[in-house]
Symmetry: C2
Subunit: 129 residues, 2 copies
DNA sequence: ATGGACCTTCCAGTGCAGGGAAAGGTCAAG
DNA sequence: CTTGACCTTTCCCTGCACTGGAAGGTCCAT
């Protein structure tokens, strides 16, 4: 399978595939006589895993960790379980932070909608913020 | 006021102050005879505004817009109101996205905690993701 | 006069995940 | 035989908000 076919089949771009190879996420494939990359069918499953992991919000570095464990012949279950729990904690923290921020911004927005701007003072730049 | 004093008074760094000047957020201050930046007291209020805006999640580009309007002699009230509402919408979207993602990751995490990993298959890399 | 705390400029890098463009090789169809 | 769709490598660029470091000037106290 050539790089363009794999890119289309996996829903990504040739650029990204070369980048993943460079980044150690995809093993360097065989080359045909003319130097073209020649991917085996497994690459597609691997890219599916990468895509699902990205969708779950994992970084390429985290995905590479999992792949390295798998490539060492070990099932990465324990590591993936830990990653999922950590990711859940991170998400909870991010959501809480954003909700707190939303609260602050909502108050500012309400104030801006109700307070009369006539006594705006140039030295404070803007009384709404 | 020299740059170090202003940095300390505003709770930032000299590096950041030069960066803000370069980025058009702080007007270029006067210079003393020896070439040192010599800030007027207004710079402190301006930095306070920048800090509050950053806390509300605005980008430097957005803050610069507001400052440019103010510097043109116009009260930026209307623009700030719009920015606040847009920011609120953005936050709502971000929060909703993260909550949807949290839901997905929670399901994956639950599955990983309950499903027996014995029938893991190397071709799918990891059955949890 | 010398040390240290300031200040100046300019250049370059950080992290993340790629994207763009140049300059060239290869292959099948018309 | 040429056109166009592929493929190759290499290098640099993006956005965001800074941060680090080098090389040098200035000021004050000791």
């Amino acid at each position: 399978m050539r790089i363009g076919e794999l890119a289309e089949a996996s829903g990504t771009t040739t650029k990204t595939l070369r980048f993943y190879e460079e980044a150690g996420l995809l093993p360097a494939p065989d080359r045909t006589a003319n130097g073209y990359r020649d991917y085996a069918a497994e690459a597609l499953a691997r890219l599916g895993f990468i895509r699902r992991s990205r969708t779950a919000g994992f970084t390429l570095a985290q995905i590479r960790e999992v792949l390295d464990i798998r490539d060492a012949g070990v099932a990465p279950c324990r590591h993936v379980q830990d990653l999922l729990e950590t990711r859940l904690d991170d998400l909870d923290r991010q959501i809480a932070d954003l909700q707190a921020l939303r609260h602050t911004v909502a108050q500012l927005s309400n104030a801006a909608a109700t307070v009369d701007p006539t006594d705006c003072d140039a030295t404070t730049i803007c009384r709404y913020l």
